[in-house]
Amino acid sequence: MRVTKETQQETRRRLLEAARGLFAEQGFDPATTREVAKRANVANGTLFNYFASKEALGAALILVAAETARAEFETKRRAGESLAEILFAWVAIQLRHLEPFRPWMSEVLDAGSSLLLYPTEADETDAQRFRRMHLDRVATWIQGSTRSAENPLDLHLYWTLFLGVIEFWTRDASHNQEATLALLDRSISLFTRGITEGPQES
């Protein structure tokens, strides 16, 4: 039987919803792909036609949330924002949308199959989309702000800071993760000063 594109999309959506619910209820570690497939009413083997692993499922959920965050970010743009403000909002809004996944995001990161770090072949597309979406925007803002040619090192530095903030955030026990907001502000400030003013004296 030929499976239509719509059916594929529907199956993928059901799997993601099932995974979202199970990860929230049981935690990421105890949940199994078998349970995800069962809850989604999909044969166990079929799940792997869509996602190579449990980590890939997690990564796909993260990507969906990041895209929702991007939409919110666009509605909140204001005239005259500084580069630091733009970058801060860009990351902070994403973190808020990723909040449901915070308890297990670090496990996805640690598993080495994260879309943020080392995407596997199966989720490479999602990972590339995420990085491209994220860094393309950042590069545009940097160029608009510094009026200088794009420096690949800038983006590398930015991505390192971004991952550092993510890692801190996944373990942040402060009220409403306000410590992460403070760290993000400091990191973004350091970064924007670094690229607009040159190296800082230590």
């Binding site: 909140k76 204001r78 924002e81 500084s82 630091a84 403000e85 733009i86 801060f88 909002a89 902070a92 809004i93 808020r96 402060s174 009220h175 409403n176 993760q177 306000e178 410590a179 907001l181 403070a182 760290l183 502000d185 400091r186 400030s189 350091l190 000063r193 004296e201």
Partner: protein
């Protein structure tokens, strides 16, 4: 804004004269100047907000310098051996301060507190601190917005019809924005605390306590610890806007019968531990009010309002409005007085309140033994341990506190000498290291000096004693 920031030279110049004139042989001074010099050239690495850093750096630097001076001033009269030992302690304290990068938030707050005590500090020093306080740079809007979004569960634009992105005032550990609640004509003031500042200050206080343990400033260590715990609670309470909302609501209810005193209403549905939304009051602060060259009668009227508010909260609500500095009063266009910040309040325990009342009764009883017993209790000492010298200064200090209360006639606060005398007497305790005291006295001292500083600034004549007797009868 940046160009108005004081330079390092200005800061050193603003240090207390005693410190500047200190003997060059004193190693602590040399070390302090070195530390100041080092700090001037680099950003504060521990502050969470880059835009706060310049404020934190300058304010913390000068606060650290003052702390060192204060430590030194405590043993000016000590003999050489003792002085040498203490110098070593001061040097150690400075090293601790340096390592801790001047205690970040706690010292910044300390600097603000000092700035609110005019005349306790030499004038130039106080002015510089005041300038630093008023220059607190705001959080950028993206940070503020995200922080509020997490606190209120919605974007400011969903909660407020208007929200001014620029802060109109700096608050203790935060900033204040004008706004209008959705679907309402009511203008409100939204106070937002800097994210993560509460944890930073708690860490700093813990570190400060740990470092003080090594200093052993006096034999009254256990008492000092009790006082320190009290100060720690004071800081922690100020970080909790829910607690502040409770105090503000209690004060609003308590003062509701006094039509010329206004306490803004709290909007609970738009308030959290980190965000406090209250009615916005249109008025002027002390400096702007004085710039209008107000008539003596108006000064007196406002002086009486300040006094009555303090007294009524004290006796009826058992609430100490403990931070009576110029930023917390608003002079309203209709001759009313607004009280706008209740972060630094203390509710007396039954035991504390009874102690305060007993001390007052003793003061007016003409029973000297009773007075001495009350003063000993205030010092957390036995009567037999209270030596004559200390008792003499205590009596003088109490006379200063109670002089305006002994008459129903207006007391003229317009003479700075009267205020300075209180400072001189208080300084005697510090200088002689008589630091043993009931923890509640931290609050009482803040009120005694804070209210009188306001009345002195105003140049008001207030029937303090008459108002007190009216309020105790209420």
């Amino acid at each position: 804004m940046e160009s108005n920031q004081p330079t390092l030279a200005e800061l050193i110049e603003a240090l207390p004269k005693e410190y500047q004139d200190a003997d060059e042989r004193v190693p602590a001074r040399t070390e302090l100047v070195q530390i100041l010099g080092e700090l001037a050239g680099k950003p504060v690495p521990t502050g969470r907000f880059t835009r706060m850093w310049s404020l934190g750096t300058l304010q913390a630097k000068i606060a650290a310098a003052y702390l060192a001076w204060w430590l030194r001033s405590g043993f000016q009269d000590a003999d050489g051996k003792r002085r040498g030992l203490d110098e070593t302690h001061v040097a150690a304290a400075l090293q601790v301060l340096s390592r801790m990068v001047y205690l970040r938030g706690a010292v910044m707050k300390l600097g603000q507190v000092m700035a609110h005590w005019p005349n306790v500090l030499p004038a130039p020093f106080s002015e510089v601190l005041g300038r630093l306080h008023s220059q607190a740079p705001p959080m950028h809007f993206a940070l503020l917005r995200e922080h509020m979004c997490r606190e209120l569960g919605a974007d400011p634009s969903e909660v407020f019809d208007e929200f001014e992105p620029e802060a109109f005032a700096a608050a203790s550990l935060g900033q204040v924005h004008r706004a209008r609640i959705k679907g309402s004509s009511q203008r409100v003031a939204v106070k937002v605390q800097y994210p993560d500042i509460a944890r930073t200050i708690r860490d700093d206080l813990r570190n400060l306590k740990a470092s003080a343990l090594g200093l052993r400033l006096s034999g009254d260590w256990n008492n000092l610890q009790k006082q320190f715990d009290g100060i720690q609670r004071m800081f922690e309470q100020e970080l909790d806007y829910e607690q502040e909302a409770q105090f503000q609501e209690a004060a609003r209810t308590c003062l509701a019968g006094q039509e010329d005193l206004v306490v803004p209403r709290v909007h609970r549905e738009h308030s959290t531990k980190r965000v406090l939304t209250t009615d916005y009051l249109e008025g002027t602060h002390l400096d702007a009010f004085l710039a209008t060259n107000p008539a003596q009668s108006l000064r007196d009227r406002h002086g009486a309002q300040i006094t009555r508010a303090s007294m009524r909260l004290w006796y009826r609500e058992r609430l100490v409005y403990a931070d009576p500095h110029p930023g917390n009063y608003l002079f309203l266009p209709n001759g009313k007085l607004g009280l706008i910040d209740f972060g630094c309040c203390h509710r007396f325990s039954s035991e504390e309140f009874e102690h305060v009342l007993e001390t007052e009764r003793a003061a007016f009883s003409n029973d000297d033994a009773r007075l001495v017993a009350a003063l000993a209790q205030s010092c957390d000492m036995r009567v037999e341990d209270l030596d004559e010298q200390r008792l003499g200064v205590l009596r003088a200090y109490c006379d200063w506190v109670w002089a305006p209360l002994r008459t129903d006639e207006p007391f003229d606060y317009g003479t700075p000498d009267q205020y300075r005398e209180g400072i001189r007497l208080y300084g005697e305790f510090v200088k002689r290291r008589w630091i043993r005291s009931q923890p509640v006295n931290v609050w009482l001292t803040k009120v005694f000096f804070g209210v009188r500083a306001m009345l002195t600034h105003l140049g008001a004549r207030v029937a303090y004693g008459k108002i007190m007797r009216e309020e105790t009868l209420v």
